[in-house]
Amino acid sequence: MKKTNFYSIPTLRGEEAKRFIEFDSLKPTTEELENQEEAKQRYLQRCEVARKASS
């Protein structure tokens, strides 16, 4: 991705927006929620390890 595209905001319209709105309203599965929670916990663990290493 080129650096110039970092700060441009994409806008979804028409059929893209319709598909997006449908996707946005989907309920997550238990597995997806567990994976997301695991990602967050692992991120927090790494933060804690880094904090201890720096102190």
């Binding site: 970092f6 979804l12 989907l26 997301q36």
Partner: protein
């Protein structure tokens, strides 16, 4: 890294880029040595200065004191037309959602045979997005995929399945991963309960007094006003 069989992604750490890191120590160009996505160029020429100006943050994937790749993240936004098929009013025509943009995610060419580096970097970014959603609000993790679209969209490649929102003219695909908050989690757990429990809940609800919607409806209010009751 010599032995790839013992790679444990959990041991990866993600320090931020600093001036002690030599960006030329890793090679993030494509397998044909081109840098079509400017991944190596960004690492060598912009990553540190952008970070110092709070324009982005670059994290190095470090394993046993070796750098295996990097990822750059930026706070961004996604806009969409709320009523794609109609136009109820001009005021709420465009809606914006807060997102965490994975601007770059690249693996060192020498270590691409090791499975799990990219997935772990992605997990790191999703974890960051999930945490951000608790702190400041973040609804999606967003990225633009070029050659690695399948990596993000196929569930067997990564635990985090991305949705292809659109394809750009240059072939890049705008991809989104939804962050869910705790309220939705609670609702989901409620929906997942067994049928017997659902039946009990329904029965319990049936015994509950109905909301006083009728009493406050326009019709009854008007009747009361006319007859002064």
């Amino acid at each position: 890294m010599e032995d790839t069989s013992e790679f444990n992604p959990k041991v990866l750490t993600f320090p931020k880029i600093s001036d002690t890191f030599d960006p030329n120590s890793i090679d993030c160009t494509d397998d044909d040595n081109t840098d079509a996505q400017d991944l190596q160029d960004y690492l060598c020429n912009h990553a540190l200065s952008d970070q110092e100006q709070n324009m982005s943050a670059t994290y190095l994937a470090s394993y046993e004191n070796k750098i295996l790749g990097y990822c750059t993240v930026v706070i961004s936004s996604l806009a969409f037309k709320k009523y794609p098929l109609g136009k109820p009013s001009t005021r709420d025509e465009i809606t914006n959602y807060p997102v965490l943009l994975i601007a770059n995610l690249a693996t060192d060419k020498k270590n691409r045979k090791i499975k799990g580096i990219g997935s772990e970097m992605l997990r790191h970014c999703v974890g960051m997005g999930a945490l951000l959603s608790d702190i400041v609000g973040c609804r999606y993790v967003m990225l633009y995929a070029t050659k690695a679209e399948k990596f993000y969209s196929e569930k067997n490649k990564t635990e985090y399945k991305f949705f292809v929102a659109r394809e750009e003219n240059d072939g890049r695909k705008l991809m989104l991963y939804r962050i869910h908050n705790k309220i939705e989690r609670h609702l989901s757990e409620t929906l997942d309960i067994s049928d017997s429990v659902s039946a009990v809940v329904k029965k319990g609800n049936a015994n509950q007094p109905k909301p006083d919607a009728e009493k406050t409806s326009w019709f009854f209010r008007t009747i009361r006003r006319i007859f002064r009751i």
